[in-house]
Symmetry: C2
Subunit: 116 residues, 2 copies
């Protein structure tokens, strides 16, 4: 067991990696085709640049995303999901079902997302 | 749309309520029959008393749990899941499946939990 985790509980361990308000929002954006820093900043939740930098770094360290440079001077990166990151899709789908059932006026996700 | 939420996105909205490292751990404990402050403190993740007090208050405000006094002098409360809180079970089950598949040595949850 990696000592970075609070326990062997699979719920607690998942939350050690994605238990914050932004990580799964960024995974959502990547599933929706966003890849660049500026695209993540554009999302309606209005993440700040410093939080975005921090989260992308943590997600890369956790193996949820990979980055590739698409430009030099200044160097810029495109981010994409790994298989491990994409495998969190059922967690996000379950959140969608819960919010649609319990929180009024939440957006109904596209069928294409719910069928992934 | 409640203005406390960052957007109408059902993923972002769910994370506005449970997007932290503790809320779903406490829901897990309640599903497992824990109800009292001292029982939550006993869990292997070792939540601190101030974080526990904060999270239980937020969870009650969000309608995820209810509390009933079981003792006076000093007054003590027992917490239990509401229907809205219990409806987050599929989110936790999806987290269990992800962690068991991707994080070595995480505990395999009881079938009774996965079948809820």
């Amino acid at each position: 067991m990696d000592s970075d985790f609070r326990s062997g509980c699979p719920i607690a361990t998942t939350l050690d990696l994605v238990g914050d308000r932004w990580t799964l929002v960024l995974l959502r954006d990547m599933i929706n085709g966003k890849a660049r820093f500026s695209e993540f900043l554009d999302s309606p939740e209005r993440i700040t640049t410093n939080v975005l930098t921090d989260r992308l770094g943590r997600m890369e360290a956790a193996g949820l995303v990979t980055r590739t440079a698409y430009q030099d001077r200044p160097r810029r990166f495109a981010y994409s999901l790994t298989e491990k990151g994409a495998a969190l899709t059922p967690v996000m789908q379950a959140m969608c079902r819960w919010a649609n059932a319990w929180i009024p006026d939440t957006w109904v996700p596209p069928e294409s997302f719910m069928a992934l």
